[in-house]
């Protein structure tokens, strides 16, 4: 077969598909995402570093790809599984096909897969490691490659995905009436966003909420931040989303612990939310197959409103964190904690993705709350 790609899953499942992305051999963790729209944003979300994404939505590639819908400068995900790949696309913003995009980005694309069966497998057996290859096609060979590769828990992807240099983020959120990003207004304050693999739209939303955002690498010297805060240059710190197991990020947790102790107003999303928990002494737990999609109901316990949220995480904070923080948001599917406000610190965080992109927009009030929070504290 042309474009033959062979796949071996940790649970012993060995099968073939058709490659429409980058060639080669790649090892990663396989997860599924149930979003109906926004495959490009998902593929370019740095939180998927080291992962293969199974799209449950069956037709993928329909709208092509474009430069606007990137959630980071490049894609860090390992590959994607789809049922039906569309080389020809139809959307007035489409610029190039998904296949071309994946090849450029070095991401594998695997089509003609019973993604529903894969999803059911992950639901039953949990997220797992896998290998895909356009070069090797025997089960033994692939199995051997997988066995000789590190597991996702053992890899620190943050150094790869985080920015190497600090910079000021220049854009606001997307203006659908102009089909372009907004030019920021004069900011009310400045913050630092620590980049663990930040999605662009988080930065866009922060800017739109009224702050100047200096994005810094994960390896930033904590003194740099402390100094800027004590000098009054910045009013708060944002801790971004990012890939992988938070428990391997010991340096980051230590840095955050120092920021916590300095009583700096902080806000974390996803990995940022998890690292805050770890920094406060509460170790995260791995979920069986995680939350990946754009349809999870999250209840805002303060207002009683149900928000349909964008989700992408395999880990969650432990229930006993209520000892030091109040739960502000709860996932109605499995009752896991989705949002916290720390009792004695000016810190809050959410597990889901209020920046959406892709996904519903109703949670983006959180960015305004954060800006209000730092200006008031």
């Amino acid at each position: 077969m042309e474009n033959r790609v062979s796949i071996y899953l940790e649970n012993g499942l060995f099968f073939e598909g058709e490659s429409f992305g980058a060639d080669g051999t790649s090892v990663g963790e396989i997860v599924f995402n149930t979003s109906l729209t926004g495959y490009q944003e998902i593929i370019s979300d740095p939180s998927y570093a080291g992962q293969f994404i199974t799209f449950t939505t069956s037709e993928i590639g329909n709208v092509g790809t474009n430069l606007q819908d990137m959630e980071s400068a490049k894609s860090f995900s390992k590959g994607i599984f789809v049922r039906s790949y569309n080389e020809r696309y139809s959307n007035f913003r489409g610029e190039q096909s998904l296949s071309k995009f994946l090849k450029e980005q070095g991401v594998m694309g695997i089509a003609e897969i019973d993604t529903r069966f894969i999803t059911k497998t992950l639901r039953k057996d949990g997220a797992m490691m896998m290998v895909a290859s356009t070069e090797f096609h025997t089960e033994d060979k692939l199995k051997a490659i997988l066995q000789n590769s590190p597991r996702i828990e053992d890899i620190n992807y943050i150094d790869e995905v985080s920015t190497k240099e600090s910079y000021i983020h220049q854009f606001g959120n997307y203006d659908i009436s102009k089909f372009d990003y907004k030019v920021p207004n004069k900011p009310k304050a400045k913050i630092i966003a620590v980049d663990f693999g930040v999605k662009r739209n988080i930065l866009n939303e922060l800017v739109t909420a009224g702050v100047e955002v200096e994005v810094v690498p994960n390896t930033i010297d904590v003194e740099y931040i402390l100094q800027k805060y004590s000098s009054g240059e910045i009013k708060g710190v944002f801790l971004s989303n990012g890939p992988g197991d938070p428990l391997v990020l010991t340096n980051e947790a230590e840095m955050i612990e120092k920021l916590v102790k300095a009583d700096i107003p902080m806000f974390g999303i996803c990995l940022g939310h998890q690292l805050l928990s770890i920094a406060n002494g509460y170790r995260t737990e791995k979920l069986k197959f995680g939350h990946h999609g754009g349809n999870h109901p999250v209840k805002n316990l303060k207002t009683g409103a149900v928000e349909i949220t964008s989700q992408n995480h395999n880990y969650s904070v432990p229930d006993n964190i209520v000892e030091i923080a109040d739960v502000t948001h709860k996932n109605l599917f499995d009752d896991t904690i989705e949002g916290l406000i720390y009792k004695d610190r000016p810190i809050f965080s959410v597990q889901h993705h209020p920046e959406a992109s892709p996904g519903p927009h109703e949670s983006n009030y959180i960015f305004t709350e954060f800006v209000k929070h730092i200006i008031e504290s």
Binding site: V63, R93, A305, G359
Partner: protein, 1079 residues
């Protein structure tokens, strides 16, 4: 907050008869609503004039009024039942309009609106208010302006350029709407729109022709939580009513940014309109060139699209909307399918395609070009993993003989013409265009169908080239074809093999259908309710599983898409069969492809397969489920046609076997059977040549009834009175041959027809109902009004009917339901037709007698004795044994069924009745006297009998001599008769006073002027096109346009005068069916 305790009695308004634009989807939503309200402990009062609905079964609501959906009737019910609140959002536009009109007249004082408040309904429905509301929240709208008369309308054309869209306010399914490309066309459509709108208002709009069209199905709760249940993208670009468009879910050509914009806009619309709780539908269009999005309209109620969205995702919108209406919030409701909260947005891992079903063949004079007024009568939905699989499945689900993208004959010019013209077969023309080498861009430029869809169709057509004789030896190729949705029959056609050969080969290679759940969540959670569809994966991973069998299991094959001749009645029977299986603790498996039904509700049966009803897919289910019985008798002709093939395949047909069905369907065998039992049928013959037909007709004598040998609903059936008419018929209407013979029957002029529904277990027989047709023989039984019990049939004849029915049932070996049509001609009983299956009248008979015939029949079909099956369901104790048969002891009531026609929807259609069925639905009138029941049935079918005024009588010559008594009655009742010269003269000669009026062709002012001026209260017009072609037709067009009550047969007119006499003496009372039955 849990349910509200401050309300006790809730009135639910149904949608009335099935008409174009309002089909059985509202039985589905209404049934969900009734069940939900009842389970919460509310006292539920229901009004719906349509007896063929599940919701009007006496066991659902507490009080069920099968009465006309009329303001005064509703007011009487509200008073009688102490109604606290009304739920008007479940019964389509009918319910909403009735409630709103009553509200505005102050007839609903003290009755609370649940779901949407009157102000919100008004804002959503009134185009001006809607426009203002949308402008307020910054929505982009097409340029538009209102007009209230033709002069104002003409002004607007100067401001907005052509083409223009005209929409009439407050009409159903786009009635009175259209697209105008020039001033002349504009004038015509604008005038029609002004007439159609109850407030004489039209909206004239910038044309968005060629834009992409989308729908969002939205739910909102009282805490302002909003969710999108489903996004739908139309295959047909703007300009075709969404009900007539092929639609696809989910939306496929939007990026997340555009999708979320549409989602946010949908919520903003609900908030601004003020839909506090419940489901709504919001429609958008997008300019494919630059992405500009405008809002088109919204419906503050459940709709056809919400039914589709429910079936497409598994999310029960009507049920959830009902719970929200009585106080719950989304997070307090559980999603039955997964056990998780209902406050989420369903996601799907397949593609759903809906294709509408049309019946233009019934109305050859009507235009088949699609526009903004809905014309389709039904739809199918297909589920496939990919668009290719989904759309092909949908095409062969339609039962129009398609095996997929079948070839189309015609010149290249024809193809181009049909690509441009929106029509019901355009998708096939697209396929054909690619087959002939047209490019994507050419097809797009002409049709404006989004290129994304075109790519896939082109790929399907390209793949056809790979399918040749070698495919049966090429497992990879065969699997690939199957995974693209090619049917076995299509592969057979393309490879010149038989379907059986393809199937054998497929099975040899292990290429079987696999079954996936419709689970609202793309497999993220386990599905608790088995709602399944088939697919073929190119690289299958799922191991084939054996279905575990714990108890007896029966498969019910449904009726497929609604169409004229096969509608909701059959779905009713299938649903009842399923309920009966539940009562017997037998596992029920429902199989259907029509989303507008109760049968395809996920909780109707133990298991649901949403699949095309063809041999390939049914056989595959039989392999998988190994059912102990297959019921093919309840879904109409669709499943019945499969009886032979399934029997040969080894399936166990429950009840009446295929061999018996065959005898009844085969004319020769049937005639033999009748001769053997000494039963009479009209003289007849079968012709395989034109000359043969003339010879037979001469032998048996004119008039004769002619038709092709295979017909559904009397298609192409005609009565001819002489050889020249027969010659014309043979030339134009049919192509006669050995393969398609033409049947010639003696026509029994002015005979009275009877319809009998019966059940037999092989040893005894139950005559569930003997109905007398009001119209005489010659009018299709489905179009005829009928009365249960009979009104003018002698006991002697009725005894003969009992005996004959028994003879036929036992003689044929019927086990289950059967329907017989008799004609009483010169006091003799003739057999017209025997159908050993459920008939259209089963629901009507069941409602009237209190014996649910389809349920009883189901027990009998599974082997129970008739007597014990009857006893099981004899809730009202009506069963008696008399004259050798079981029958119901009817109580004092009389029920009249009346047919409802689509003439006002299908532009150019003529309202004359004949042997070809034209009605889409039915209503029932019930009271303690025949005339009042008849009057109720007329009111319910929107043909309100006037109490006074002028009646215009125009008769064909054959009718004149039978008309004097009726004319005299009208005069005695205080009516003034108006007649054209011939009839006027005839009346004068016979001493009946009438006013002469000019025919249209005789000058002005003529009858047409009088009709248009509202001077005529009632029209009796039996003249057909033979006697006065142009006048008669023009008069009928005016009658339709002006909505003047009319009758086209003397028999119905006679019933009308009797009703008028009775209405002078008695009050028009409303009584629930439960009271009639337990009187």
């Amino acid at each position: 907050m849990p349910k509200r305790e401050d309300i006790k009695t809730i009135l639910l308004i149904g949608s009335g008869p099935i008409v174009i634009g309002q089909a059985s989807e509202f039985d589905y939503s209404g049934t969900q609503a009734v069940k939900t309200l009842k389970s919460l402990g509310y006292r539920v009062v229901l009004i719906n004039s349509n007896p063929a609905t599940i919701m009007t079964d006496p066991e659902f609501a507490d009080r069920t009024y099968i009465e006309p959906i009329d303001e005064q009737v509703i007011a009487d019910i509200i008073k009688k039942e102490n109604v606290d609140a009304i739920l008007p959002t479940m019964g389509g536009q009918t319910a909403l309009n009735a409630a709103m009109s009553m509200y505005e007249k102050g007839m609903l004082e003290g009755v609370e609106f649940l779901g949407a408040k009157p102000e919100a309904i008004k804002k959503g429905e009134d185009r001006q208010l809607f426009k203002e509301a949308m402008q307020k929240i910054g929505m982009d709208l097409p340029k538009s302006k209102y007009a209230y008369n033709i002069d104002e309308a003409m002004e607007v054309t100067k401001e907005i350029g052509f083409p223009l869209i005209i929409r009439a306010s407050f009409t159903l399914a786009g009635g009175g709407s259209g697209v105008a490309y020039n001033i002349e066309e504009f004038k015509d459509i604008a005038q029609k729109g002004l007439d159609a709108s109850p407030i004489n208002e039209i909206l004239i709009e910038e044309s968005l022709l060629g834009w992409k069209e989308y729908e969002m199905e939205v739910i909102r709760d009282r805490e302002d939580n909003c969710i999108i249940v489903c996004s739908i993208e139309n295959f047909d670009p703007m300009g075709v009513h969404t009900g007539d468009s092929i639609t696809v879910a989910p939306a496929l050509t939007l990026t997340d940014k555009e999708y979320q914009h549409m989602r946010n806009a949908s919520f903003a619309v609900l908030r601004e309109i003020g839909v506090d709780t419940g489901g709504s539908n919001v429609q958008f269009s997008i300019n494919p060139a630059d992405g500009r999005m405008t809002i088109i309209e919204m419906n503050p109620r459940v709709s056809r699209s919400s039914a589709l969205a429910s079936k497409a995702t598994g999310y029960p919108i009507a049920k959830v909307a009902t719970l929200l209406a009585v106080g719950f919030t989304l997070d307090e409701i559980t999603n039955d399918i997964t056990g998780t909260p209902a406050s989420f947005e369903p996601v799907i891992d397949y593609v759903v395609t809906k294709v509408p079903r049309f019946t233009f063949e019934k109305f050859p004079e009507a235009s088949s070009t699609l526009g903004t007024s809905m014309k389709s009568v039904g739809e199918v939905m297909a589920i496939g993993r990919t668009f290719k699989e989904s759309v092909q499945k949908a095409l062969y689900s339609l039962e129009t003989g398609l095996t997929g993208f079948d070839e189309i004959r015609g010149s290249d010019e024809d193809i181009v013409h049909e690509l441009r013209r929106p029509n019901s077969e355009r998708i096939l023309y697209i396929g054909e265009a690619f087959r002939r080498g047209m490019s994507i861009d050419e097809v797009f430029q002409i049709s404006k169908v989004d290129p994304w869809f075109l790519y896939h169709i082109e790929e399907i057509i390209k793949f056809e080239e790979n399918i040749d004789y070698s495919i049966l030896e090429n497992a990879t190729l065969l699997r690939e074809a199957k995974s693209m949705g090619f049917s076995d029959s299509r592969i057979a056609k393309l490879s010149s093999f038989s379907e059986t050969q393809v199937r054998v080969s497929r099975k040899r290679f292990g290429i079987n259908h696999q079954y996936n759940e419709v689970d609202t969540c793309s497999a993220e959670f386990e599905a608790l309710t088995p709602y399944l569809y088939s697919t073929v994966e190119k690289n299958p991973l799922q191991p084939e599983e054996e279905e575990e069998k714990e108890r007896k299991r029966v498969l019910i094959l449904g009726g497929g898409p609604n169409r004229i001749g096969q509608g909701i009645e059959f779905d009713y029977c299938c649903v009842h069969s399923s309920f009966a299986l539940k009562d017997m603790n037998v596992e029920s498996i429902m199989y259907n492809c029509n989303p507008e039904t109760v049968s395809t509700d996920y909780d109707t049966s133990d298991k649901l397969y949403f699949e095309p009803i063809d041999f390939e897919h049914v056989a595959s289910i039989i392999d998988r489920e190994q059912p102990d019985g297959v019921i093919v008798h309840f879904g109409g002709q669709t499943p019945l046609k499969l009886a032979n093939a399934l029997t040969e395949y080894g399936a166990k047909i429950a009840g009446t076997p295929a061999s018996v069905i065959d005898i009844a369907e085969d004319r020769e065998k049937f005639s033999q059977f009748l001769r053997k039992h000494n039963l009479k049928q009209p003289e007849n013959g079968t012709a395989t040549t034109k000359d043969g037909a003339y010879r037979i007709a001469n032998e048996i004598g004119y008039p004769v009834l002619v038709r092709p040998s295979y017909v559904l609903g009397g298609r192409a059936m005609r009565i001819v009175y002489n050889q020249s008419e027969l010659e014309q018929y043979m030339e134009e209407a049919v192509s006669v041959s050995n393969e398609s013979p033409v049947l010639v029957d003696k026509f029994l002029d002015r005979a009275i027809e009877l319809d009998v529904d019966a059940i037999s277990d092989g040893t005894s027989v139950y005559l569930g109902g003997v109905m007398q047709h009001i119209e005489e023989a010659g009018i299709h039984s489905g179009d005829s009004a009928c009365s249960l019990p009979t009104v003018s049939i002698s006991d002697e004849i009725l005894k003969e009917i009992d005996a004959t029915t028994k003879t036929i049932a036992l003689g044929l070996g019927v086990r289950g339901l059967m329907n017989i049509q008799y004609a009483i001609y010169q006091d003799e009983v003739f057999l017209i037709e025997v159908n050993p299956r459920a008939s259209r009248t089963v629901p009507f008979v069941s409602k009237t007698t209190g014996i649910p015939m389809a349920k009883v029949a189901t027990r009998v079909m599974l082997g129970e004795e008739l007597k014990s099956a009857l006893d099981f369901y004899d809730k009202y104790e009506v069963i008696k044994f008399e004259d050798g048969v079981y029958k119901p002891q009817l109580k004092d009531h009389v029920a009249v069924k009346e047919a409802v026609f689509p003439f006002n929807k299908i532009d150019g259609a003529d309202l004359i009745l004949g042997p070809e069925m034209k009605s889409t639905g039915e209503v029932m009138g019930i009271s303690n006297s025949f005339p009042i029941s008849f009057a109720k049935s007329q009111l319910a079918s929107k043909n309100r009998i006037p109490r006074e005024g002028k009646v215009f009588i125009s008769l064909n010559n054959l009718d004149k001599e039978h008309s004097l008594e009726i004319a005299k009655d009208f005069v005695d009742l205080g009516f003034k008769i108006v007649a054209t010269s011939g009839t006027h003269k005839y009346f004068r000669e016979n001493g009946i006073e009438s006013e002469a009026v000019l025919k249209i062709s005789e000058g002005r002012p003529n009858i047409d002027d009088k009709l248009k001026n509202g001077e005529i209260a009632l029209v009796i017009n039996t003249s057909d096109n033979r006697s006065s072609k142009n006048d008669a037709k023009l008069i009928r067009q005016t009658v339709l346009r002006e909505s003047i009550p009319y009758f086209t047969t003397l028999a119905a007119t006679k019933a009308t005068t009797e009703a008028l006499k009775e209405m002078k003496l008695h009050r028009f009372d409303v009584t629930p069916i439960q009271d009639y039955l337990s009187e």
